[in-house]
Protein backbone atom coordinates (compact mmCIF):
# COMPACT_ATOMS: atom_id res chain seq x y z
CA UNK A 1 0.00 0.00 0.00
CA UNK A 2 1.36 3.40 -0.99
CA UNK A 3 1.94 5.95 1.66
CA UNK A 4 0.19 9.32 1.25
CA UNK A 5 3.39 11.32 1.68
CA UNK A 6 5.22 9.45 -1.11
CA UNK A 7 2.26 9.88 -3.44
CA UNK A 8 2.09 13.61 -2.70
CA UNK A 9 5.82 14.03 -3.37
CA UNK A 10 5.39 12.13 -6.63
CA UNK A 11 2.49 14.41 -7.54
CA UNK A 12 4.32 17.59 -6.61
CA UNK A 13 7.41 16.59 -8.59
CA UNK A 14 5.19 16.10 -11.63
CA UNK A 15 6.40 12.53 -12.00
CA UNK A 16 3.40 10.38 -13.00
CA UNK A 17 1.15 13.01 -11.48
CA UNK A 18 -2.08 11.39 -12.60
CA UNK A 19 -1.06 7.98 -11.32
CA UNK A 20 -0.24 9.40 -7.88
CA UNK A 21 -3.51 11.29 -7.79
CA UNK A 22 -5.47 8.19 -8.82
CA UNK A 23 -3.98 6.21 -5.96
CA UNK A 24 -4.84 8.94 -3.46
CA UNK A 25 -8.36 9.07 -4.89
CA UNK A 26 -8.81 5.31 -4.67
CA UNK A 27 -7.57 5.28 -1.10
CA UNK A 28 -9.68 8.12 0.30
CA UNK A 29 -12.70 8.54 -1.96
CA UNK A 30 -15.10 6.47 0.12
CA UNK A 31 -14.36 8.24 3.40
CA UNK A 32 -14.71 11.63 1.73
CA UNK A 33 -17.97 10.62 0.06
CA UNK A 34 -19.55 9.30 3.28
CA UNK A 35 -18.45 12.35 5.24
CA UNK A 36 -20.24 14.52 2.67
CA UNK A 37 -23.25 12.20 2.37
CA UNK A 38 -23.93 12.41 6.12
CA UNK A 39 -24.19 16.18 5.75
CA UNK A 40 -26.14 16.54 2.51
CA UNK A 41 -28.28 13.35 2.72
CA UNK A 42 -28.97 13.00 -1.03
CA UNK A 43 -26.65 10.83 -3.11
CA UNK A 44 -26.72 13.16 -6.14
CA UNK A 45 -25.69 16.12 -3.99
CA UNK A 46 -22.98 14.13 -2.24
CA UNK A 47 -21.67 13.04 -5.65
CA UNK A 48 -21.49 16.66 -6.92
CA UNK A 49 -19.74 17.91 -3.80
CA UNK A 50 -17.32 14.95 -3.74
CA UNK A 51 -16.33 15.64 -7.36
CA UNK A 52 -15.73 19.29 -6.53
CA UNK A 53 -13.56 18.22 -3.59
CA UNK A 54 -11.32 16.03 -5.75
CA UNK A 55 -11.01 18.66 -8.47
CA UNK A 56 -9.93 21.10 -5.78
CA UNK A 57 -7.45 18.56 -4.41
CA UNK A 58 -5.94 18.24 -7.89
CA UNK A 59 -5.49 21.97 -8.23
CA UNK A 60 -4.28 22.66 -4.67
CA UNK A 61 -2.12 19.64 -3.95
CA UNK A 62 0.99 21.28 -5.42
CA UNK A 63 0.78 23.86 -2.63
CA UNK A 64 0.21 21.33 0.17
CA UNK A 65 3.14 21.68 2.58
CA UNK A 66 2.55 18.51 4.60
CA UNK A 67 2.29 20.48 7.83
CA UNK A 68 -0.73 18.34 8.67
CA UNK A 69 -1.74 14.82 7.65
CA UNK A 70 -3.09 14.58 4.12
CA UNK A 71 -6.35 13.05 5.41
CA UNK A 72 -6.91 16.02 7.76
CA UNK A 73 -6.30 18.48 4.90
CA UNK A 74 -8.55 16.44 2.60
CA UNK A 75 -11.39 16.35 5.15
CA UNK A 76 -11.01 20.07 5.61
CA UNK A 77 -11.38 20.65 1.87
CA UNK A 78 -14.47 18.40 1.97
CA UNK A 79 -15.82 20.27 4.99
CA UNK A 80 -15.46 23.66 3.28
CA UNK A 81 -17.01 22.43 0.03
CA UNK A 82 -19.91 20.87 1.93
CA UNK A 83 -20.53 24.09 3.86
CA UNK A 84 -20.51 26.08 0.61
CA UNK A 85 -23.00 23.66 -0.89
CA UNK A 86 -25.30 23.74 2.16
CA UNK A 87 -25.30 27.53 2.23
CA UNK A 88 -26.21 27.73 -1.46
CA UNK A 89 -28.86 25.06 -0.94
CA UNK A 90 -30.31 26.93 2.04
CA UNK A 91 -30.89 30.01 -0.10
CA UNK A 92 -32.69 28.01 -2.79
CA UNK A 93 -34.60 25.55 -0.65
CA UNK A 94 -36.71 27.71 1.66
CA UNK A 95 -39.76 27.17 -0.53
CA UNK A 96 -39.45 23.41 -0.93
CA UNK A 97 -38.82 22.66 2.75
CA UNK A 98 -42.37 21.53 3.45
CA UNK A 99 -42.23 19.17 0.45
CA UNK A 100 -39.01 17.64 1.79
CA UNK A 101 -40.61 16.94 5.15
CA UNK A 102 -43.45 15.21 3.37
CA UNK A 103 -40.93 13.12 1.40
CA UNK A 104 -39.30 11.98 4.62
CA UNK A 105 -42.63 10.83 5.99
CA UNK A 106 -43.60 9.06 2.77
CA UNK A 107 -40.24 7.32 2.50
CA UNK A 108 -40.50 5.98 6.02
CA UNK A 109 -44.08 4.83 5.70
CA UNK A 110 -43.19 1.63 3.90
CA UNK A 111 -40.32 0.40 6.07
CA UNK A 112 -40.02 -1.63 9.30
CA UNK A 113 -42.51 -1.25 12.13
CA UNK A 114 -44.37 2.05 12.43
CA UNK A 115 -42.71 2.90 15.76
CA UNK A 116 -39.12 2.34 14.65
CA UNK A 117 -39.83 4.31 11.46
CA UNK A 118 -41.05 7.21 13.51
CA UNK A 119 -37.94 7.19 15.66
CA UNK A 120 -35.82 6.92 12.52
CA UNK A 121 -37.57 9.92 10.95
CA UNK A 122 -37.28 11.87 14.19
CA UNK A 123 -33.53 11.21 14.31
CA UNK A 124 -33.03 12.22 10.67
CA UNK A 125 -34.99 15.40 11.19
CA UNK A 126 -33.18 16.21 14.42
CA UNK A 127 -29.83 15.79 12.67
CA UNK A 128 -30.98 17.93 9.73
CA UNK A 129 -32.07 20.69 12.11
CA UNK A 130 -28.66 21.01 13.74
CA UNK A 131 -26.54 23.98 12.69
CA UNK A 132 -24.01 22.85 10.06
CA UNK A 133 -20.93 23.00 12.28
CA UNK A 134 -22.59 21.13 15.14
CA UNK A 135 -23.92 18.52 12.71
CA UNK A 136 -20.46 18.07 11.26
CA UNK A 137 -18.78 17.69 14.65
CA UNK A 138 -21.48 15.29 15.82
CA UNK A 139 -21.04 13.08 12.76
CA UNK A 140 -17.26 13.01 12.99
CA UNK A 141 -17.28 12.29 16.70
CA UNK A 142 -20.01 9.68 16.83
CA UNK A 143 -19.78 7.88 13.50
CA UNK A 144 -16.11 8.42 12.59
CA UNK A 145 -14.92 8.21 16.22
CA UNK A 146 -12.50 11.02 15.54
CA UNK A 147 -10.52 12.71 18.31
CA UNK A 148 -11.21 16.37 19.05
CA UNK A 149 -7.78 17.53 17.82
CA UNK A 150 -8.52 16.21 14.35
CA UNK A 151 -12.10 17.52 14.39
CA UNK A 152 -10.77 20.94 15.43
CA UNK A 153 -8.27 21.08 12.58
CA UNK A 154 -10.86 20.00 10.02
CA UNK A 155 -13.48 22.50 11.13
CA UNK A 156 -10.95 25.27 11.79
CA UNK A 157 -11.82 25.64 15.45
CA UNK A 158 -10.14 24.99 18.83
CA UNK A 159 -10.32 21.66 20.66
CA UNK A 160 -12.54 23.35 23.27
CA UNK A 161 -14.73 24.75 20.51
CA UNK A 162 -15.13 21.30 18.95
CA UNK A 163 -16.07 19.77 22.33
CA UNK A 164 -18.59 22.55 22.89
CA UNK A 165 -20.06 21.95 19.42
CA UNK A 166 -20.54 18.25 20.16
CA UNK A 167 -22.30 18.86 23.46
CA UNK A 168 -24.44 21.65 22.02
CA UNK A 169 -25.46 19.30 19.21
CA UNK A 170 -26.43 16.65 21.73
CA UNK A 171 -28.46 19.13 23.78
CA UNK A 172 -30.24 20.44 20.72
CA UNK A 173 -31.07 16.95 19.50
CA UNK A 174 -32.51 16.12 22.89
CA UNK A 175 -34.74 19.21 22.72
CA UNK A 176 -35.90 18.38 19.18
CA UNK A 177 -36.60 14.73 20.01
CA UNK A 178 -38.51 15.65 23.19
CA UNK A 179 -40.65 18.10 21.22
CA UNK A 180 -41.60 15.34 18.77
Amino acid sequence: MHNDQDLIIQFQQGFQKEAAFTLLLKKHQQKVYFQIKRMVSEHADADDVAQQVWIKVWSKLDGFKMESKFSTWLFRVAYNETLDFLQKQKKQATQSQSEDNLDYENAAAGSDSPKSSQIQIALEQAIQQLPEKQRFVFMLRYFEEMNYEKIASITGTSVGGAKANFHQALKKMEEILKKD
Partner: protein, 152 residues
Amino acid sequence: MNNNKENIEILNDKALVENLISKQVLNNYEAKQFEVPANYFQQFETQVLSKVGKENKAKKSSFFIPKWGQIAVAASFFTIIATTYLWLQSNDHEQTVASNISIQEITTTEIDAYVNENEAIAEIDWQAEINKETSNLENINAHLIKDTNNTQ
Protein backbone atom coordinates in the same frame (compact mmCIF):
# COMPACT_ATOMS: atom_id res chain seq x y z
CA MET B 1 -1.51 6.00 27.25
CA ASN B 2 -2.75 9.10 25.47
CA ASN B 3 -4.59 6.93 22.95
CA ASN B 4 -6.33 5.04 25.75
CA LYS B 5 -7.52 8.28 27.29
CA GLU B 6 -8.78 9.42 23.91
CA ASN B 7 -10.60 6.15 23.31
CA ILE B 8 -12.29 6.36 26.70
CA GLU B 9 -13.38 9.93 25.92
CA ILE B 10 -14.83 8.81 22.59
CA LEU B 11 -16.68 5.92 24.23
CA ASN B 12 -18.07 8.28 26.87
CA ASP B 13 -19.33 10.68 24.19
CA LYS B 14 -20.87 7.81 22.25
CA ALA B 15 -22.59 6.60 25.42
CA LEU B 16 -24.13 10.06 25.86
CA VAL B 17 -25.61 9.83 22.36
CA GLU B 18 -26.84 6.28 22.89
CA ASN B 19 -28.59 7.33 26.10
CA LEU B 20 -30.65 9.69 23.98
CA ILE B 21 -31.15 7.54 20.86
CA SER B 22 -31.04 3.77 20.76
CA LYS B 23 -27.94 2.24 19.20
CA GLN B 24 -30.11 0.34 16.72
CA VAL B 25 -31.67 3.51 15.39
CA LEU B 26 -28.24 5.09 15.06
CA ASN B 27 -26.94 2.00 13.26
CA ASN B 28 -29.93 2.06 10.90
CA TYR B 29 -29.26 5.71 10.20
CA GLU B 30 -25.60 5.00 9.46
CA ALA B 31 -26.49 2.03 7.24
CA LYS B 32 -28.76 4.30 5.20
CA GLN B 33 -25.85 6.69 4.64
CA PHE B 34 -23.80 3.83 3.20
CA GLU B 35 -26.30 3.05 0.46
CA VAL B 36 -24.73 3.89 -2.92
CA PRO B 37 -25.59 2.82 -6.48
CA ALA B 38 -23.77 -0.25 -7.79
CA ASN B 39 -20.24 0.41 -9.13
CA TYR B 40 -20.57 4.01 -8.01
CA PHE B 41 -16.98 4.40 -6.82
CA GLN B 42 -15.45 2.98 -10.03
CA GLN B 43 -17.52 5.40 -12.08
CA PHE B 44 -16.71 8.23 -9.71
CA GLU B 45 -13.01 7.66 -10.25
CA THR B 46 -13.41 7.81 -14.04
CA GLN B 47 -15.55 10.96 -13.86
CA VAL B 48 -13.12 12.79 -11.61
CA LEU B 49 -10.12 11.82 -13.72
CA SER B 50 -11.79 13.00 -16.92
CA LYS B 51 -12.79 16.33 -15.31
CA VAL B 52 -9.33 16.81 -13.90
CA GLY B 53 -7.84 16.02 -17.32
CA LYS B 54 -10.03 18.66 -19.00
CA GLU B 55 -9.19 21.25 -16.36
CA ASN B 56 -5.53 20.49 -16.72
CA LYS B 57 -5.66 21.01 -20.49
CA ALA B 58 -7.55 24.28 -20.08
CA LYS B 59 -5.01 25.46 -17.51
CA LYS B 60 -2.08 24.53 -19.75
CA SER B 61 -3.51 26.35 -22.76
CA SER B 62 -4.22 29.49 -20.74
CA PHE B 63 -0.64 29.56 -19.47
CA PHE B 64 0.80 28.93 -22.91
CA ILE B 65 1.14 32.67 -23.65
CA PRO B 66 4.37 33.71 -21.93
CA LYS B 67 4.59 36.99 -20.08
CA TRP B 68 6.48 38.78 -22.89
CA GLY B 69 3.77 37.56 -25.26
CA GLN B 70 1.07 39.07 -23.08
CA ILE B 71 3.00 42.39 -23.01
CA ALA B 72 3.33 42.30 -26.80
CA VAL B 73 -0.42 41.73 -27.21
CA ALA B 74 -1.18 44.61 -24.84
CA ALA B 75 1.28 46.90 -26.70
CA SER B 76 -0.31 46.00 -30.06
CA PHE B 77 -3.75 46.89 -28.73
CA PHE B 78 -2.45 50.19 -27.43
CA THR B 79 -0.80 51.00 -30.79
CA ILE B 80 -4.01 50.21 -32.72
CA ILE B 81 -6.11 52.38 -30.41
CA ALA B 82 -3.60 55.27 -30.51
CA THR B 83 -3.28 55.11 -34.32
CA THR B 84 -7.06 55.07 -34.77
CA TYR B 85 -7.42 58.07 -32.45
CA LEU B 86 -4.73 60.10 -34.25
CA TRP B 87 -6.16 59.22 -37.67
CA LEU B 88 -9.65 60.34 -36.63
CA GLN B 89 -8.21 63.58 -35.24
CA SER B 90 -6.34 64.40 -38.49
CA ASN B 91 -9.45 63.58 -40.56
CA ASP B 92 -11.50 66.07 -38.56
CA HIS B 93 -8.79 68.69 -39.13
CA GLU B 94 -8.83 68.15 -42.91
CA GLN B 95 -12.59 68.56 -42.99
CA THR B 96 -12.40 71.83 -41.04
CA VAL B 97 -9.73 73.19 -43.41
CA ALA B 98 -11.84 72.21 -46.43
CA SER B 99 -14.86 74.11 -45.17
CA ASN B 100 -12.75 77.26 -44.70
CA ILE B 101 -11.45 77.46 -48.33
CA SER B 102 -13.29 80.18 -50.30
CA ILE B 103 -14.29 79.87 -53.98
CA GLN B 104 -11.77 82.55 -55.01
CA GLU B 105 -8.88 80.34 -53.97
CA ILE B 106 -9.89 77.56 -56.37
CA THR B 107 -8.10 77.71 -59.71
CA THR B 108 -9.98 77.71 -63.06
CA THR B 109 -8.33 74.42 -64.00
CA GLU B 110 -9.78 72.83 -60.87
CA ILE B 111 -13.23 74.27 -61.62
CA ASP B 112 -13.03 73.04 -65.23
CA ALA B 113 -12.04 69.58 -64.09
CA TYR B 114 -14.91 69.53 -61.60
CA VAL B 115 -17.42 70.73 -64.22
CA ASN B 116 -16.26 68.12 -66.71
CA GLU B 117 -16.77 65.42 -64.15
CA ASN B 118 -20.30 66.56 -63.32
CA GLU B 119 -22.73 66.24 -66.20
CA ALA B 120 -25.54 68.25 -64.64
CA ILE B 121 -23.37 71.33 -64.41
CA ALA B 122 -21.82 70.64 -67.82
CA GLU B 123 -25.28 70.78 -69.43
CA ILE B 124 -25.61 74.55 -68.68
CA ASP B 125 -25.10 76.72 -71.78
CA TRP B 126 -22.08 78.60 -70.58
CA GLN B 127 -21.68 80.59 -73.83
CA ALA B 128 -25.24 82.00 -73.55
CA GLU B 129 -24.63 82.85 -69.91
CA ILE B 130 -21.37 84.63 -70.82
CA ASN B 131 -23.08 86.57 -73.67
CA LYS B 132 -25.88 87.60 -71.31
CA GLU B 133 -23.39 88.84 -68.71
CA THR B 134 -21.36 90.66 -71.40
CA SER B 135 -24.45 92.50 -72.74
CA ASN B 136 -25.37 93.52 -69.18
CA LEU B 137 -21.89 94.93 -68.69
CA GLU B 138 -22.08 96.81 -72.03
CA ASN B 139 -25.42 98.35 -70.97
CA ILE B 140 -23.93 99.48 -67.69
CA ASN B 141 -20.91 100.93 -69.54
CA ALA B 142 -23.20 102.81 -71.97
CA HIS B 143 -25.12 104.31 -69.06
CA LEU B 144 -21.93 105.35 -67.34
CA ILE B 145 -20.60 107.05 -70.54
CA LYS B 146 -23.92 108.82 -71.03
CA ASP B 147 -23.93 110.06 -67.42
CA THR B 148 -20.33 111.30 -67.72
CA ASN B 149 -21.12 113.20 -70.91
CA ASN B 150 -24.15 114.82 -69.33
CA THR B 151 -22.22 116.09 -66.35
CA GLN B 152 -19.49 117.54 -68.62
